[in-house]
Structure formats: structure tokens, C-alpha cells
């Protein structure tokens, strides 16, 4: 059996279930307590679990992550939150060097079982420093897992896996997706990290994507159908570990590739996927590897321009048609 709930609710269920299951799990971040998070994800959890398991912090991003690492190596399993994923920049050493490498640098003698929740993406005109999808910078930090779910079901199952994983996990949640709804199983379930999901099967063109763009890709797949183009949507769901096998299988099937993410094109995680395809499946390609991504410009504060900044279904459909020419 299943219910239809929002992605926000699905994430909250994951947090609640894992906190009930394991007393070592606690939450820490700005406004996560009485307010329940500025996006409402931790709503009600402080009331349920008390102030020692849902902790409001000062505006101290370096402490939120670095303190989380300190707690993780001393017996707890922190789920910490940066209020906006952009704030990775404000705690970059803590994420890229402390969370990712403390275990390795110390010879594997400690583990860092923690999750960093990262509300990401453009929504509502909040500008260049509260709208980014900064997942690419995490790829150069071996030691981290990186999750980018696109549906309530995936979000819940992956967050539960992330919390149970003994490695540090960065978990992106697109802000414009907290209110989207989807089916979520009633019974307990998890989704293993590192498994891509074919969100739409097709034969002609593969769209490799994740997060909010996965939804746009699915709508484009429907639109393309009317033009007799069969689009396959590969939702990678995790960037590390990356399910390269599923990606290559799709590429070998269709021979045409579009990679699509919301982050700016240059230096985005799509570049790595393009490179992997050009390295491992070049012979299967019938045409150039296209990328439909955010433009190489900061994200304007204006909602009007933000809309014009975002890659949209028109851009993606056009790329699909170009690929078929």
C-alpha cells in the first residue's frame, strides 16, 4: 500500500523513523527546532524528541558541519543541515576536508557516520547566494557520498539509507520540490545509495539527469512521444557512488545523449558524466553529447530573470529534437 505525500513530508518521515530506530541520530542546524526548519522539514521533531535531539544552532556553518564531524567520531550519528546548499561555501573545508577525509587521513581508524542536508536550487528569486545547486564541487572529495533525489519515494528511501550509512553523505533537496507530491510506500523501505532509476523508458534519446530537472525531463519525454521520439530518462539519484553501468546501458541502447542539470553548465557534474561516456561508450554515440544546464552566469535575484535563467522544458525538448536530426 502507499500514500501520496509531499517530498517535505517524506523527508520528515525518514528523519522521524530513523530517530526512533536509533537513539544516536540527532538533528542540528539553524531554525530546525521550534520553527521546524525554514522549509518545514523538521516540523514537530523537537517536540517529539526534545531539545537534545533537535538542536538549534547559532549562525555558524563551520560549527554545524565541523561540530557534526566531532559528534560523529565520538559515537553519535548527526543529521546536520545547512539552511541553504549554497552555504557549502561557508563550511567548505569542514565538508570537503573534515567530513570527507577525517577517516582516511587518520588511517581508517575512525568513521564519520553523518548526513548533511542541503536545500538547493532556484526558487522565489532569492538570488545568487541562496539558489545554487553546488553538487559538482563535492565530486573532488572522495570519502563523501552525494545524493540528489527527485521524488518523495526516492527522497525518503535514500535519506534512510544515508542515515544508516557509515560514510558521510551530502543530501541535496531541491527547494522547489518540497511541495511536490508522490506515492510513498506505507511499509518500511530503503533505497540503496548508488542506484540510478529509469524514470521513463525509451529507445531514441537518453536524458541523464537528477533532482528537479528529472521532472522536466519526464514531461519532455511525454511531449517527445507526440513527436514520435522515444526518450529514456535516467535519474541518477546519486552522483557518488554513480551508477555508471545503468547510464552506459541506456547510452548504448539509444546512442544519443543529453545531460541535464540545473547548475551552470561549465564545471557542473554533467561534465563528469559526459567525460565518462566519452571515455567508455564513444563507439555507441550517434552524435555529440549535449548538455542542457543552467547558463554560465550567477542566478539573478529577480524572479523575472530567475525564470529566464533556469533551463526549461523548451530547451530540453529542442535538444531532443536536435539530437534526432
Amino acid at each position: 500500500m502507499s500514500r501520496t505525500i509531499t517530498m517535505g513530508a517524506a523527508l520528515r518521515e525518514a528523519l522521524l523513523e530513523e530517530m526512533e530506530r536509533d537513539p544516536r541520530v540527532f538533528i542540528m542546524g539553524e531554525d530546525v527546532g521550534a520553527m521546524g526548519g525554514v522549509f518545514g522539514v523538521t516540523h514537530g521533531l523537537q517536540k517529539r524528541f526534545g531539545k537534545k535531539r533537535v538542536i538549534d544552532t547559532p549562525i555558524s556553518e563551520m560549527f554545524i558541519v565541523g561540530g557534526g564531524v566531532g559528534a560523529a567520531i565520538t559515537g553519535l550519528r548527526p543529521v546536520v543541515e545547512l539552511q541553504f546548499a549554497d552555504f557549502l561555501y561557508n563550511a567548505a573545508d569542514e565538508v570537503l576536508a573534515k567530513m570527507a577525509k577525517w577517516r582516511y587521513m587518520h588511517g581508517g581508524n575512525v568513521t564519520v557516520p553523518m548526513v548533511l542536508r542541503l536545500p538547493a536550487g532556484a526558487m522565489g528569486g532569492v538570488g545568487a547566494e541562496h539558489s545554487q545547486c553546488p553538487e559538482a564541487m563535492l565530486l573532488q572529495a572522495p570519502g563523501l557520498h552525494v545524493v540528489v533525489p527527485s521524488t518523495p519515494r526516492d527522497a525518503k528511501g535514500l535519506l534512510k539509507s544515508a542515515i544508516r550509512n557509515d560514510n558521510p553523505v551530502c543530501f541535496f533537496e531541491h527547494k522547489a520540490m518540497y511541495q511536490i507530491t508522490g506515492e510513498v510506500p506505507d511499509e518500511e523501505y530503503t533505497i540503496p545509495l548508488g542506484t540510478a532509476d529509469i524514470k521513463h523508458e525509451g529507445r531514441d534519446v537518453s536524458i541523464i539527469t537528477w533532482g528537479r530537472m528529472a521532472h522536466i525531463a519526464m514531461s519532455v519525454a511525454e511531449a517527445a512521444k507526440k513527436r514520435d521520439i522515444s526518450v529514456e530518462v535516467v535519474d541518477v539519484r546519486c552522483l557518488q557512488p554513480l551508477d555508471l553501468e545503468t547510464i552506459l546501458r541506456s547510452v548504448r541502447k539509444t546512442g544519443r545523449v543529453i545531460i541535464s542539470h540545473e547548475a551552470s553548465k561549465t564545471g557542473g557534474a554533467g561534465a563528469e558524466i559526459a567525460a565518462l561516456i566519452a571515455e567508455n561508450a564513444l563507439e555507441a554515440l550517434q552524435g555529440p553529447i549535449r548538455r542542457v544546464c543552467g547558463p554560465d552566469a550567477p542566478i539573478p535575484q529577480s524572479q523575472h530573470l530567475e525564470k529566464l535563467w533556469l533551463p526549461n522544458s523548451g530547451d530540453l525538448l529542442q535538444a531532443v529534437e536536435e539530437a534526432m536530426r
Binding site: 522565489g124 538570488g127 545568487a128 529577480s302
Partner: protein
């Protein structure tokens, strides 16, 4: 204190201007004409105007997200300010949007704002260093809240300001809240002014509802900085009279009805001071206020006439 009648009037005028400006903005927000999030400055006008009025035109202001009284006091063009909130081409950012963040007017010393908290502390310290290196007597002033005061950037900026006696004034507006988190939970020690000692800065605590007291404290701090005698932290206690942002349900604190915000409303208090000190009669005050209202309406009218930017604007100005 030795403040002239003119100065007191000027302070009140700017406070009233800022407060009325915000009222017109809230109307635009209701009408859905404003992009992004606005953090109302209601209750902060005394601290923001009082402190900025102690600056010269060529002094540097690094402001923050809490209302716009600081940049209004520094003389931002009102048409441009409306334009930034409307996201149209009359804005100081020429349609890039901006809203509360990123109004910029270097000619008036308005140097901008960081969307991520704390970073303005570093830039302001850098601007103060720059004034020192160029051997001008300019001063840099930076506003931030009790919440932003806990970012690590504060330590690095305050430390160099103290060590090198930079011409810097930090105004910490302590409104007791960082969004939903009370200052008592988030902050160790006995307050922000008291932290000045750790760096060899001067520390002053002032009642932010008393704009004239803020001015006096700021004037002293600015003079100290200009003389080369070092940096100051001014902690102004203020009341955040509205939500953290417009739309904040504020479940985490007593409701407006349960609070007595009027007791610390700097605009009201200052207006009453003008009357009590017989600086202006009620009639004269009303005339002054009507005049300001009119200026605002005409600025807004003008701003509304500008065009919205095209997509090309996105790619403009990334590089010189």
C-alpha cells in the same frame, strides 16, 4: 550631547522616510510586484539612521538585510531603490533584481551587501584597511544582527581591526532573534559590545530605540576611527517589530498582541522627542511628513514606468 535642532530633524526625517518607504514596499509586496524575500526593518530605524547619520558621504557603508533605513539614510536614490525591488531597469542593479540584497551606489559609499551572513564584516574590514593604506580619513561602517555576529568571519575581521587599529565601526543590531533562534540560546557571554575587549576594540551598548543616543555613540566611534584610534563595536538593542521575513508565521515567539512593541518603536519615540523638546510643532511635523510622503509617491511613480529587463541582462556585467 550637543546635537543641533537641524541634526535631530534630519535624523527624524530619514527615519520617517525609511518607515514610510517600507510601508509602500509592503503594499507592493501584497500586490505581488516584488521579487524575493523582504526582511522588514520596522523597529530598527533608530539604530540604522542614527548610526549612518554620523558618516560622511565618502565613508563606506556595508549594510545588511534588515530593512533599508541604513541605505536610505546614506542617501540611496529612491527611484533606484524602488526599481531594485520591482526588478526593473530603473533599479541600481539595472533590472538584475536585487530586492533587499545588493543595492549598490559606490558614489554614495553604499558598497553592497553579502547574501551570506558574516561576510560583510570581512569586506568592511578590507575597506577600512584600504582607507588606512591610501591614507585617507575615510571610515567603514557595517551593520549586522545578533545572529550574524556569531559567524566566524566576525572573529577574523574584528581581530585585524583591533590589531591594526583600522577605521571601522561595527553596528550590531541586537533584536534578540536570528529568525526563530533567541539570542540567549545562540550566544555565549555577556553581549556583543562586551566582546570588543577581546580584540582591543572599543565596545558601546546603546538603546536602539533612542536614535539620538545611537547617533552620539556612532559619532564618537566614527571620530575615533578617523583619528586613527581604532575600531568600535556598537551594540544597539532593538525590537524586530515584524516577522523575520514577510510571511513568517512567527510561531516561535509571542504574538504582536502579547508584545508591547510600541514601547520601543524608535519612530514614535523620536517623533515624541521632537514634540517634547519643541523642536517642531505637530503641524510642522505633519507638513514635513506629508512632504516626504509626496517624494516617495513620485519616486515610486517614476520607478514603475521603467521596463523589465530582457534575458540578455543575465549575461551582462559578469566580467568587466
Amino acid at each position: 550631547m550637543g546635537m543641533t535642532r537641524e541634526l535631530k530633524l534630519a535624523i527624524y526625517s530619514k527615519m520617517f522616510l525609511a518607515q514610510r518607504w517600507e510601508t509602500t514596499l509592503l503594499r507592493l509586496i501584497e500586490q505581488g510586484m516584488v521579487s524575493g524575500i523582504y526582511h522588514a526593518g520596522r523597529g530598527h530605524e533608530g539604530a540604522e539612521v542614527g548610526a549612518v547619520m554620523a558618516l560622511r558621504d565618502d565613508d563606506y557603508l556595508f549594510y545588511d538585510h534588515r530593512g533599508c533605513a541604513h541605505i536610505i539614510a546614506k542617501g540611496v536614490d529612491l527611484v533606484a531603490l524602488y526599481g531594485d525591488f520591482l526588478g526593473n531597469c530603473s533599479g541600481s542593479t539595472h533590472g538584475l533584481g536585487a530586492g533587499i540584497v545588493h543595492v549598490c551606489d559606490p558614489a554614495r559609499g553604499i558598497m553592497g551587501q553579502s547574501g551570506t551572513l558574516g561576510r560583510g564584516q570581512l569586506l568592511a574590514a578590507g575597506a577600512a584597511l584600504s582607507a588606512y593604506l591610501r591614507e585617507t580619513d575615510q571610515v567603514a561602517m557595517h551593520f549586522f544582527g545578533d545572529g550574524a555576529a556569531n559567524v566566524g568571519t566576525f572573529h577574523e575581521a574584528a581581530n585585524v581591526a583591533g590589531a591594526w587599529k583600522l577605521p571601522l565601526v561595527f553596528v550590531v543590531q541586537n533584536n534578540g532573534w536570528a529568525v526563530s533562534v533567541p539570542v540567549s540560546h545562540a550566544t555565549g557571554g555577556g553581549g556583543f559590545a562586551r566582546r570588543a575587549d577581546a580584540y582591543g576594540m572599543a565596545g558601546v551598548m546603546v538603546d536602539g530605540s533612542d536614535a539620538f543616543a545611537v547617533y552620539a555613540a556612532a559619532a564618537e566611534a566614527v571620530a575615533r576611527a578617523r583619528r586613527g584610534d581604532g575600531a568600535t563595536i556598537i551594540e544597539a538593542k532593538v525590537t524586530r517589530m515584524r516577522g523575520h521575513f514577510e510571511g513568517d508565521a512567527e510561531k516561535y515567539r509571542p504574538s504582536k498582541a502579547e508584545r508591547d512593541d510600541a514601547a520601543t518603536d524608535p519612530v514614535l519615540i523620536t517623533r515624541n522627542r521632537l514634540l517634547a523638546e519643541a523642536i517642531l510643532s505637530e503641524d510642522a511635523l505633519q507638513a514635513l511628513e506629508a512632504d516626504i510622503q509626496q517624494k516617495l509617491e513620485s519616486a515610486l511613480r517614476q520607478a514603475k514606468q521603467a521596463d523589465m529587463p530582457t534575458r540578455a541582462r543575465i549575461f551582462d556585467g559578469i566580467y568587466v
